[in-house]
């Protein structure tokens, strides 16, 4: 089976800092993969490489088997790589609806009424229809996060890259987002999800990847990975040093 998105030997260096060190990563169609790891492990950088915002010094990224290492973020989005930022980045001067229309008409490559229909559907699905005509800059954090997710979905992605969308939310709010992500997964879209709140993550993902200092240190069944001694060391420090 062709993977929907994969990276081979990805290396990124910022000056003297090796942020990614020969990482291999793959996600299958419809699969949900969680990424955990301490701060500075290279998680967000990896997402940036997969989305095309950062070009790796070494390694290749492939989307459905095609080499996209040198493909721009906007092209990757139109191919089917959706992305939600860690800190939501709404277009503040536009309404919630207009934010989603941009995503549907460009990322989703839909024209006119079909783009509007897609935007209306997604807003309804994400519980934003009631506030669709408000300026995005007036939204609170939960609504901003939902808008971030809605825009990403409006591009009709085959894989979505989620970066800590649960951060800063209460447990109840996070639970709402989990439902939303589960819904995306049920629709057959693959998911790559970075999250610090591990108990939230394991409710949805099929597979868990743990990163530390630019490398993948564990990859497999979520329960197994969380029991892995190396993973516990990375998070809590070594028991014997």
């Amino acid at each position: 089976m062709t993977t929907v998105l994969d990276g081979h030997g990805l290396s990124v260096r910022f000056g003297d800092l090796q942020v990614l060190d020969g990482v291999d990563f793959a996600v299958q169609p419809g699969e949900a993969v969680g990424i955990v790891g301490p701060n500075g492990a290279g998680k967000t950088t990896m997402l940036n490489v997969l989305a095309g915002a950062i070009r790796p010094q070494q390694g290749t990224v492939r989307f459905e088997g095609r080499d996209v290492t040198r493909t721009r973020p906007d092209q990757r989005c139109r191919m089917g790589v959706g992305r939600a930022f860690q800190v939501p980045r709404p277009f503040g001067g536009m309404t919630v609806l207009e934010n989603v229309v941009v995503a549907a008409s460009y990322g989703g490559d839909l024209k006119g009424r079909r783009a509007y229909a897609r935007a209306a559907d997604v807003l309804d699905e994400c519980g934003l229809a009631e506030i669709a005509n408000r300026r995005a800059e007036s939204l609170g954090l939960l609504h901003r996060k939902r808008l971030e997710l809605a825009r990403c979905l409006a591009t009709t992605p085959k894989v979505v890259l989620l970066d800590e969308i649960g951060a800063g939310l209460t447990d109840a709010e996070a639970a709402e987002l989990v439902d939303a992500v589960r819904h995306i997964k049920q629709g057959g879209t693959a998911i790559v999800w970075i999250e610090h709140i591990v108990h939230v993550l394991v409710q949805v993902v099929d597979r868990l990847v743990c990163m530390d200092t630019g490398r993948v240190i564990a990859d497999g069944d979520p329960a197994e990975v969380l029991k892995d001694a190396v993973v516990i060391d990375a998070y809590l420090g070594k028991a014997t040093s």
Binding site: D74, R89, F91, L97, V102, Y106, A115, A120, L123, D124
Partner: protein
């Protein structure tokens, strides 16, 4: 379409207001038949200011490209007109060709200038303007530093000349208003406003940022070139120091900020307000400039979204069908 919600672009009030604006625009062609020529000339000035404000808004308000060098195109448009009339091209045709030439200049400069960001872009455009001013000042054929008159309009009686110039200026104004409207009405409108708010996020949603910015830059080059050529036709004399002067950028910035940056209507209001201020306070010399500065600072502090935001927040509908609204489906 979603079963419960539907997207609409315009309601009846918007259709009525848009029709009224179109009728007013066309009716403006009748002004020379009903008013004195000094009023016609003043309206020509207002229209050129409006073009400049609109074009600066296209760049900074929609593209996030803050230019302090649009006078490069204003000056180029004016001097291209001189250059063409010296080669026996009829003056009014020369104005149109000069505007097109300014658009071509923008195409040529885009690969260089659009690589620059933020403050670099602002300074880069200014450098281009100063370089062009120097080149023109060194060219004796174009009048050098002392300036040059537009010939070829002497054959027409002053009243008709002013009327013709006004009609051409109005035609350019309406053409550019229509182009910007179409840009906003189509899906590119949502995309350029997205680029204005967050370029990287726009790209992550599939927006091709570079071609859109290129289009805005070329449109602004064309429009500012037209404004420069029309300013020459209105005043009949130019000097490189003034037509390439950075004061044009200050005026454009003022009009757009005071009217409402990133809105269609804002620059129109800003141009009208600036025109009136210029008319009322020009006799006070330096105090006039200080007054402009005070007004600009007051707007930045107390009404950062400009005059238009006052109306926009209160009107239950939009004047033009460029927005989107979600309504429950029937």
């Amino acid at each position: 379409m979603s079963e419960r919600w539907t997207v609409i672009r315009s309601g009846t009030p918007t259709r009525i207001s848009a029709s009224v604006l179109v009728v007013v625009g066309i009716a403006m062609f009748g002004v020379p038949f009903a008013f004195r020529t000094d009023i016609v000339q003043q309206l020509t000035t207002l229209c050129t200011l409006l073009i400049m404000a609109m074009m600066w808004n296209v760049l900074a308000g929609y593209g996030g490209l803050v230019s302090v060098g649009q006078q490069a195109f204003i000056g180029f448009g004016a001097y291209a007109t001189i250059f063409l009339t010296q080669r026996d091209v009829p003056a009014y045709l020369a104005i149109v060709l000069a505007a097109v030439a300014s658009g071509i200049l923008a195409i040529a400069l885009a690969p260089l200038l659009l690589r620059l960001r933020g403050g670099q872009f602002a300074v880069g455009t200014w450098v281009v303007a100063e370089a062009l001013a120097l080149l023109v000042a060194l060219d004796e054929e174009l009048g050098g530093g002392t300036g040059v008159s537009l010939r070829g309009l002497n054959a027409i009686t002053p009243d008709w000349r002013r009327a013709y110039t006004y009609w051409l200026t109005l035609a350019f104004t309406l053409l550019l208003l229509t182009l910007v409207f179409l840009l906003l009405r189509r899906r590119s409108g949502a995309a350029i406003r997205a680029i204005r708010d967050d370029e990287e996020a726009a790209a992550s949603l599939g927006v091709r940022v570079k071609p859109l910015k290129f289009m805005l830059f070329v449109l602004a080059g064309f429009g500012c070139g037209a404004a420069g050529a029309l300013t020459l036709a209105n005043t009949l004399f130019i000097q490189p120091q003034s037509i390439f002067g950075v004061q044009w950028s200050a005026y454009m910035l003022f009009m757009v900020l005071v009217g409402g940056i990133g809105t269609y209507e804002g620059p129109i209001l800003g141009a009208i307000l600036f025109f009136l201020l210029q008319d009322w306070f020009a006799q006070y010399g330096a105090w006039y400039l200080i007054g402009l500065g005070v007004v600009a600072i007051a707007f930045a502090l107390f009404l950062p979204r400009g005059l238009w935001s006052l109306a926009d927040d209160r009107l239950p509908f939009r004047l033009l069908p460029v927005g989107y609204a979600l309504r429950p489906a029937r």
